[in-house]
């Protein structure tokens, strides 16, 4: 069976208010499913790897074939739980180790 390639995304969350991890994950799934439907969302294999509330920094994992979908969905996010927010992709990497090495949260 062919190995599934993954990509790790370092994300910066820009908001004037504190965002919790569960709110963030719900908002990301909401944005992906709104844009691509539940079938499309299932192809992204999204999962939250780490979340730093203080630094507004998150690491997510996605299928490498769905990176553009995830980027597009993240770009359309304007609110997280009624708090005006923007999510920016800082870096995409094939391993968590390389991601942390190259990204300064």
């Amino acid at each position: 069976m062919k190995r599934v390639k993954r990509r790790y995304l370092a994300l910066a969350i820009e908001s004037s208010e504190m965002i919790r991890a569960d709110e963030f994950v719900d908002a990301v799934w909401g944005a992906v499913s709104k844009m691509f439907g539940e079938c499309g969302a299932s192809q992204t294999s999204l999962s939250l790897i780490s979340f730093d509330e203080q630094k507004s920094f998150a690491v997510m994992r996605a299928a490498h074939t769905a990176i553009e979908m995830v980027r597009a969905a993240l770009a359309t996010m304007t609110k997280i739980g009624n708090k005006p927010t923007a999510v920016h992709v800082l870096r995409v990497s094939g391993t968590i180790k390389a991601l942390y090495r190259k990204t300064k949260p």
Binding site: A75, T76, P84, A86, H88
Partner: protein
């Protein structure tokens, strides 16, 4: 060579220095090297100089822009006569078919923009694209409505954009993707703008060109034309004097 990313439609209020400075600073942090700021049609030179200075401080290049909203082709021609030699970019918001056709055939128009929400007034069809391909006009897409609209309105917009992008590519009309935002929280990085274009079937290379190569080429071409040595495309004065 590293790409220069450009956002030709940063709708910062040029009267408000603080907001302009903040928006330009953010554009710089997001990775843009060139921003186009629309100036009002009754703009004073001091206002323009002030924004240019803010851009220089942020290490950015400024492209001055005017958004024309003519109601008739004659009004468009008058506007072009008035502004073409003064500003780097002339964009036309085409709200009627006759204006859209005139804008597409006029070589002084740089960007063709269409109402984002009123789908009956999006006149970018094959005839428009054919006229635009023989002149120099590019098709501009603002991403702001993709971020603020929801539900049926966004679905219809995506559907229109998909059809228009296919038409533009068929007739080799350059596509320029701009933000069109005034709110800083709606500003996105250039790769994010490029990713958003995948929603209307623009491939990766064309998407990156739409936020870098195409807008930069328009500004470069116009600056060359506004230069004192310009004679015609490809011809410029290299030396003046009695020995020439």
């Amino acid at each position: 060579m590293r790409r220069t990313y450009a956002d030709l439609h940063l709708c910062a209020d040029s009267d408000d220095s603080e907001r302009v400075s903040s928006a330009i600073g953010k554009a710089s942090r997001l990775g843009y090297g060139l921003v186009g700021v629309p100036f009002p049609t009754k703009c004073a030179g001091a206002q323009f100089d002030r924004v240019r200075k803010i851009c220089e401080e942020a290490g950015m290049e400024l492209a001055s822009r005017v958004d024309l909203r003519p109601r008739t082709p004659e009004e468009l021609i008058n506007g072009l006569r008035k502004f073409r030699r003064r500003l780097d970019i002339v964009a036309v918001l085409c709200e009627s078919k006759s204006v859209a056709r005139q804008a597409a055939r006029d070589r002084r128009v740089d960007l063709l923009n269409f109402p984002q929400v009123d789908f009956r007034r999006r006149f970018f069809d094959a005839a428009e694209a054919e006229l635009a391909s023989s002149s120099l006009a590019a098709f501009e897409i603002d991403v702001k409505p993709l971020l603020v609209l929801e539900g049926a309105a966004r679905i219809r917009l995506l559907s229109s954009l998909r059809r228009e992008v296919a038409t533009a590519r068929e007739f080799h009309v350059p596509i320029v993707v701009s933000s069109g935002v005034s709110d800083e929280l709606l500003m996105r990085k250039p790769p994010e703008l490029a990713a958003l274009t995948s929603l209307f079937n623009l491939d990766g290379t064309s998407a990156r060109d739409a936020v870098s190569k195409n807008p930069v080429a328009i500004v470069k071409r116009n600056r060359e034309k506004l230069g004192s040595g310009f004679v015609a495309p490809g011809i410029r004065v290299v030396r003046r004097g009695k020995d020439c």
